[in-house]
């Protein structure tokens, strides 16, 4: 691989990377032409609907579908009996592994329902009205069981048990009876007791967060057509068409080669669309009905049966010397997994202390099943939760030490060469530069008024690489098409086009990026883990580089010179042989005569991208607290982040701003509220309040660029880091404003008011 950054003048030489062109899919998105999941239709299409459990935990005694099947217009009814009973098997799709048995049982309950909203049956009918009527005609008899949603209640020895086969993994000895604790993980180094013994200052705290939803505005949607020849087509909105293909094949017991998945435009995912809910059901219904089936969730279904991320308990104990040097950290994380194992407590544990160089530590994580929707990945899964506890505790430590909170973080900052708490040794990280960026920003010294406070917090995310494929084809007119298999969730098409344009020497407008279906491009892991611009961008760059090498060869053939006598400069072959006085050959002219030089010009690269550079963010938040109502207003927000190199700075800024906004919602408003029977009480955007435009100030992003030498243009993942610091940044600002440490999210007005009254 040619390493552009080996050249010291790399950035100066770039013509496209680092600029802000209009995205190639932009016109479709602002005119309403872009086709999202629910916008696709087929002739003869049926409407699919799901019957859902009204109970948080119950045994399914019987399901009688006879009356529903008899209704005129009903074409198919499926239950768990129509799906194979799968064995336990893990599959890695790009943002954490999934257990296929649990995935299947989450799509369609078998024997037991495990949360309010759990699917028990599905129908396909000729109209929505008939489908709804059919759902009412399906008779399900339940034996209601005691339920448990709170994470610590679920860990109690006498808690209602979700899975009789679940024995805690990760303990010294296998327990003798099942529990709701799916696993315990531990990261440790040094001598914890010795660390606490030499400490001058110790802080200790217990923090909680509520389950929150990714809150993408587009509900899940798909159309599935099961052909009479067994060939299946699926159109759906997801973070990965290959993930949809594999998961559908597993859940239905089909060959994945018999399923072709075409990605629709995706209306937000944030990790929540890294799994399937509808697609296998739609295929099963289509198989039975012999017609295409469209399924679209309502917003209520999205809240009750998809996402969210864990509610959690975080216990943090930190120790430092009087000069601020951290000597010990003990962190305990208890995360709700929802109905099946797989909370993000693993990454939550690994990221918890990733910003700190601390010699003695222990992080213990518990993955706990609860009678709530199975959690799905949510932007930097697990990290914002552990960061809320640790960054609140660091703030408390700074107060106790009388130290500036940025100076305290700087003193203990990880740097290149430091062995990260989660294992590897850091290289090419830009954490100190990121801290300096907020330290030197005027925001940090701006005056504050009464009832106002300022908070600081930092955050870390690994970013991942993984498997990607990209193809670049040159048209006879000298333009390029870039084909990838990664759904464009936030403007990645333009970044792909820019990287190809940079290598080919074309204006970006001459490069058309396409996101292809599973039959039209080689495998790519899903869009997640902040991997697309890094990993798929690497494949695009290498494919373009192969084309440049081919173009040089073709020019050499035309000029009858050796290939190393040809250079590629600004979109044209240049002859370096002084004896040949020939004009440059542009890409367009080489494309026009490609038939004589070896045929069509194109290249495909499939790779496993290694060396994703980890990302760090450092945020400053100012709030004002209304002492009468307890309402918190975010007044000003500044977020610095090391992004390696910003391919398209405007979309990098957008990722930072969007992540911050979600983090503010998590901190202040958002939470799943359950009634006594375990039913979600706020399954709509009126009562589950995501931040609206009038809730937020402008969010100032600071792009810090410490290049990642493992990416051809220096890029690191961007999308996930910015949601990690805000929970604590907001809470630390509230602490500064009211003088009371708030430990339970969300920081809703009643809680703040009570804290003010109690001070």
């Amino acid at each position: 691989m040619t390493d552009v950054l080996d050249r010291p003048d790399a950035k100066a030489g770039l013509k496209v990377v680092g600029t802000r062109p209009v995205r190639p899919d932009g016109a479709d998105k602002v005119t309403g032409r872009a086709a999202f999941g629910a916008d696709f239709a087929m002739p003869g299409m049926l409407v699919g609907k799901i019957k859902r459990s009204p109970h948080a935990h119950a045994r399914i005694v019987s399901i009688d579908t006879k009356k529903a099947r008899a209704l005129i217009g009903v074409k198919a009814v499926v239950t768990a009996a129509d799906f194979p009973d799968l064995a336990s098997e893990e599959y890695e799709a790009g943002e954490g592994a999934a257990n296929m048995r649990d995935l299947s049982l989450n799509c369609m309950a078998r024997e037991k329902v495990l949360y309010d909203g759990h699917a028990v049956a599905a129908v396909a009918a000729t109209s929505t009205a008939i489908a709804d009527q059919a759902l009412d005609l399906i008779e399900v008899k339940y034996e209601v069981l005691p339920h448990v949603i709170d994470v610590e209640a679920a860990m109690a020895p006498d808690a209602p048990l979700l899975h009789a086969h679940l024995f805690t993994e990760g303990l010294e000895a296998r327990p003798d009876k099942p529990s709701n604790i799916a696993s315990r993980n531990q990261l440790a180094r040094g001598d914890l007791d010795a660390g606490f013994l030499v400490a001058d200052v110790i802080v200790e705290g217990r923090y909680t967060t509520a389950a929150v939803h990714q809150g993408y505005i587009e509900p899940h949607a798909c159309v599935a057509a099961f052909g009479a020849d067994g060939q299946c087509q699926v159109w759906s909105s997801s973070q990965g068409q290959f993930m949809v293909r594999t998961y559908c094949a597993k859940v239905l017991g089909l060959e994945s080669s018999d399923i072709r998945v075409t990605p629709a435009e995706i209306g937000g995912g944030f990790g929540g669309k890294t799994t399937v809910y509808l697609e296998p059901l739609a295929l099963a219904l289509s198989r039975q009905a012999g017609a295409p089936v469209k399924m679209v969730m309502t917003r209520e279904e999205v809240f009750r049966a998809t996402g969210p991320t864990s509610g959690a308990v975080i216990e943090v104990k930190l120790a430092a010397k009087a000069d601020g040097t951290l000597v010990a950290a003990d962190v305990v994380l208890k995360y709700q997994a929802g109905a099946f194992p797989g909370s993000p407590v693993g990454p939550g544990s690994m990221t918890a202390l990733a910003c700190y160089d601390v010699p003695n530590f222990r992080v213990t994580g518990f993955d706990v099943v609860t009678n709530s929707p199975k959690v799905a990945a949510y932007r930097a899964p697990g990290a914002p939760i552990s960061a809320f506890g640790v960054e609140s505790a660091i703030d408390e430590l700074a107060l106790k030490l009388g130290m500036d909170p940025i100076a305290l973080r700087m003193k203990n900052a990880v740097r290149d060469g430091v062995k990260a708490a989660y294992g590897p040794t850091f290289r090419y990280i830009g954490y100190v530069e990121t801290l300096e960026a907020i330290q030197n920003h005027p925001h940090y010294r701006a005056p504050l008024g009464p009832n106002q406070g300022r908070g600081v917090a930092v955050g870390f995310w690994f970013n991942v690489g993984g498997e990607s494929t990209a193809a670049v084809n040159i048209g006879e007119d000298g333009t390029a098409t870039v084909i990838t298999g990664n759904p464009d969730i936030g403007g990645s098409r333009v970044s792909m086009a820019m990287m190809a344009a940079e290598v080919l020497g074309l204006p970006v407008e001459k490069v058309r990026p396409i996101v292809a279906d599973t039959a039209s491009i080689g495998f790519s892991m899903l869009t997640g883990g902040s991997r697309t611009t890094f990993a798929t961008g690497m494949a695009v760059t290498q494919a373009a580089q192969k084309i440049v090498a081919d173009l040089e060869r073709r020019a050499a053939q035309i000029w009858e010179v050796a290939a190393d006598n040809v250079d590629w400069l600004d979109g044209a072959a240049v002859c370096l042989d002084a004896a040949k006085a020939v004009p440059d050959l542009t890409l367009a002219s080489l494309a026009a005569q490609s038939a004589r030089t070896g045929g069509p010009i194109g290249a495909q690269v499939s790779l496993t991208a290694q060396g994703a550079g980890p990302g760090f963010g450092a945020h400053i938040c100012d709030v004002e607290v209304d002492p009468e109502t307890g309402h918190v207003t975010v007044l000003r927000y500044t977020a610095a982040q090391d992004v390696g190199r910003a391919i398209h700075p405007a979309y990098v800024e957008g990722q930072i701003q969007g992540g911050v906004a979600q983090g503010i919602g998590w901190a202040l408003n958002e939470e799943y509220v359950f009634d006594r029977d375990g039913r979600m009480e706020n399954a709509g955007f009126l009562d589950y309040r995501v931040p609206v435009a009038s809730d937020l100030p402008m969010i100032e992003p600071i792009i810090v660029e410490v290049a990642n030498p493992r990416h051809p243009f220096g890029a690191k993942g961007v999308g996930e880091v910015p949601i990690v610091p805000p929970l604590a940044a907001v809470a630390n600002a509230v602490r500064a404003a009211i003088g009371v440490r708030m430990t339970d999210l969300p920081l809703s007005p009643p809680k703040i008011r009570a804290a003010i009254d109690a001070r």
Binding site: V30, T31, G32, A34, D39, I217, G658, S694
Partner: protein, 160 residues
């Protein structure tokens, strides 16, 4: 079930469709007229992704019955551009990168047009409160607000 015949003007052209009593304007636009630019994000008037303008007034198409559209003048995102020339709002959204996934964008643009039709010179605060009914989960609204303010300024220049 008796279906109602509805005649309306959609983006300046006459449009006719049949509607069940419970059909929303949003469903009629999307399913009967094939205008899928307006999106259903919630079906309860909370997200604004289905924003359309009816007789000059901004409404959530999911909260209006299709039968109520009889004789009304409806503007949707599909009618915002002038042929292949984008409206200044659409252009500013693109130039500011004021969209990521783009799902809320049609509703956001229609709502913004309604704002600027009523108030050509809104403050940032007025813009934020006007758009409080249009949820965006991707952008944090920063670039959206900047795009609206710049488009408003551009449109004021055009008016002068």
């Amino acid at each position: 079930m008796t279906r109602t015949h509805v005649s309306a003007t959609v983006n300046g052209d006459p449009a006719e469709f049949l509607s069940d009593p419970g059909t929303t304007l949003l469903d009629a636009l999307r399913d009967e007229l094939g205008l899928t630019g307006a999106k259903e994000g919630c079906g309860s008037g909370d997200c604004g992704a289905c924003s359309v303008i009816v007789d000059g007034r901004l409404v959530c198409a999911c909260l209006m019955l299709a039968a109520e559209a009889e004789g009304r003048r409806i503007e949707t995102i599909e009618g915002m551009a002038d042929g292949s020339t984008l409206h200044p709002l659409q252009r500013q959204f693109l130039e500011h990168a004021a969209l990521q996934c783009g799902f809320c964008t049609p509703g956001m643009l229609v709502a913004t047009k309604a704002l600027l039709d009523a108030n050509p010179d809104p403050t940032e605060s007025e813009t934020r409160y006007w758009l409080a009914g249009n949820l965006c989960r991707c952008t944090g609204y920063d670039k959206v607000i900047r795009a609206v303010m710049d488009a408003a300024a551009e449109l004021r220049q055009v008016r002068v």
